[in-house]
């Protein structure tokens, strides 16, 4: 069923009784061309692009819980492509361009809102670093504007510009950045993939990967064995666990990142502000809640919940930036498990096991990458060659020294 203003109107006259389920609930078949492990944003996007761009539709997406139950529903919904390094910028810009056409491509309202993303700076040195990043973005065809203090004040008059430790001197603005409705992204990709014949199989946990003569030929699951010509892993925080089923060790640590939402408020902030120096960023959802977060907790975790010191730290940073937040009540907080890679950048590559593909290492930046991640992963699986904009995301770059370390933090995942 195609969604349109007309279908909405027609349903309105029928009392909304004619809507059909957005996707089927098929039983797993014994055999597929491609099995994707992980029914989150990246796995579902991969399925959609395999089906829509490469005409590969004999595909199953296996999800251990329900679709979108992991990080795609746990992030703070921000989309941007303000990266410095050549390995990253074209990839994230492809993602931004896919975001811009996503709703038409999927026939689904993902509520993509290009409300801008501002990174604040607080010193001459930080301004210079941001100018450099802004220039690198422009060279790669990405929009960026370096704003002075008064320009930021005109947009965000309520921030504390004279904070003793981090006075705001200005910001780097990407106007095309913004937010998207995270769950709708998962549902939109799921529905689009399903409509082309992809089987979305929920409550189906992969418990083993079958390897014959060095080649992955199928998976063991909680719903029985499934054979596949190609097996693609897109399991975020569980990457190390699933890869271990194929005997692989990854350059990944799993860490917990917390996020927060306030009670619903009238429109307060119409852009996304990041206060990197204080480890804090904030935006407002269309429902009215202030959505904000900070740093990862900093220790290995699979618990999907964090600890109180980070909550306190995030609130302190928020108050330091925007004192008026003190009157706002926090509604909920939650945690997601990040696949923190050793250089802070992702991996989209073959593995040493033939027929097994890896999509991992997204750290806490996976949501904005969802479209390009699926697009490039599908390209790799379908054509057998990396997509040009994702060719730097190799698994062997750690051995060859071709790291993509935006922060320059080294092989210390909790610092990325």
């Amino acid at each position: 069923m195609r969604y349109s203003a007309f279908s909405l109107l027609a349903q309105a006259f029928r009392g909304h009784k004619g809507w059909t389920p957005a996707w089927r609930e098929p039983e797993p078949k014994a055999d597929y061309d491609v099995v994707i492990i992980g029914g989150g944003g990246h796995g579902l996007a991969t399925a959609h692009y395999l089906a829509s761009r490469h005409d590969i539709t004999n595909v199953a997406v296996l999800e251990k819980g329900y679709l979108g139950s992991g990080n795609v529903g746990r992030n703070t919904t921000i989309i941007r492509s303000n990266y410095l390094l050549p390995g990253n910028t074209p990839f994230y810009e492809l993602s931004m361009k896919l975001w811009e056409g996503l709703e038409q491509d999927l026939n689904y309202n993902a509520m993509v809102s290009q409300r801008g993303v501002i990174n604040l700076y607080h010193s001459d040195g930080q301004r210079d670093a941001f100018a450099r990043r802004g220039n690198a973005m422009r060279l790669a065809g990405v929009d960026s504007e370096l704003l002075g203090r008064e320009q930021v004040r005109a947009m965000l008059p309520f921030l504390d510009y004279d904070n003793a430790r981090f006075p705001i001197q200005g910001g780097l603005l990407q106007r095309r950045g913004g937010t998207a409705r995270h769950d709708a992204v998962a549902w939109g990709y799921a529905r689009a993939a399903d409509s082309r014949g992809v089987d979305l199989i929920q409550n189906c946990e992969v418990t083993g990967i079958t390897i014959v003569n060095g080649r992955a030929v199928g998976v063991e699951t909680s719903r029985g064995p499934i054979r596949a010509k190609k097996i693609a892993m897109a399991v975020a925080g569980n990457s190390s666990r699933v890869a271990a089923m194929a005997g692989l060790r990854l350059p990944i640590e799993s860490h917990v990142l917390q996020a927060f939402v306030s009670e619903g408020l009238k429109p307060l902030i119409d852009t996304v502000v990041t206060f990197g120096a204080g480890h804090f960023y904030i935006s407002q959802s269309d429902k009215g809640g202030l959505v904000f977060g900070g740093d990862i907790d900093g220790y290995n975790s699979y618990a999907q919940r964090g600890n109180l010191p980070v909550i306190e730290d995030v609130m302190e940073a928020g108050m330091g930036l925007w004192p008026g937040l003190g009157r706002v009540r926090m509604l909920r907080h939650w945690g997601g498990i990040m696949d923190m890679s050793m250089d802070g950048s992702p991996i989209i590559d073959f593995t040493p096991v033939e027929g097994l593909y890896l999509n991992s290492g997204w750290c806490y930046g996976g949501f904005k990458a969802t479209p390009a991640s699926g697009f490039c992963f599908a390209h790799l699986i379908a054509t057998g060659a990396p997509h040009p904009v994702a060719s730097a995301y190799r698994l062997d770059r750690f051995a060859t020294g071709h790291l993509i370390d935006e922060k320059g933090a080294g092989a210390q995942p909790n610092l990325h």
Binding site: A303, P309, F398
Partner: protein, 91 residues
């Protein structure tokens, strides 16, 4: 999360700094193969379950500790000084 430091007693985790997995042993730099070095610097077991890891008690006794913690629940099973492990070598 509280960590019971063998020198200082039960303290808030905020007093400690996390480094990472405790078990990777640095190969002898000059003799090590490149593969062994890559393994040591970049590859991790990253288990979902008990994990032996290094914490530094920076706001306390300044000792490095080996903490065995379940990454699924954050429950801590044991804390020992990293020094003791080094003396014991085999551990």
């Amino acid at each position: 999360m509280r960590i019971t430091c063998p020198h200082c007693g039960a303290r808030d985790a905020q007093e400690f700094t996390y480094l990472g997995a405790a078990d990777p042993q640095r190969p002898d730099g000059m003799a090590a193969t490149e593969a062994a070095m890559v393994d040591y610097v970049y590859l991790r077991d990253n288990p979902a379950g008990p994990h032996r890891e290094l914490w530094y008690h920076g706001a306390g006794c300044h000792a490095w500790l080996v903490v065995t913690r379940d990454t699924r629940t954050h429950a801590i099973a044991s804390v020992e000084p990293a020094k003791a492990r080094k003396a014991g070598a085999a551990a």
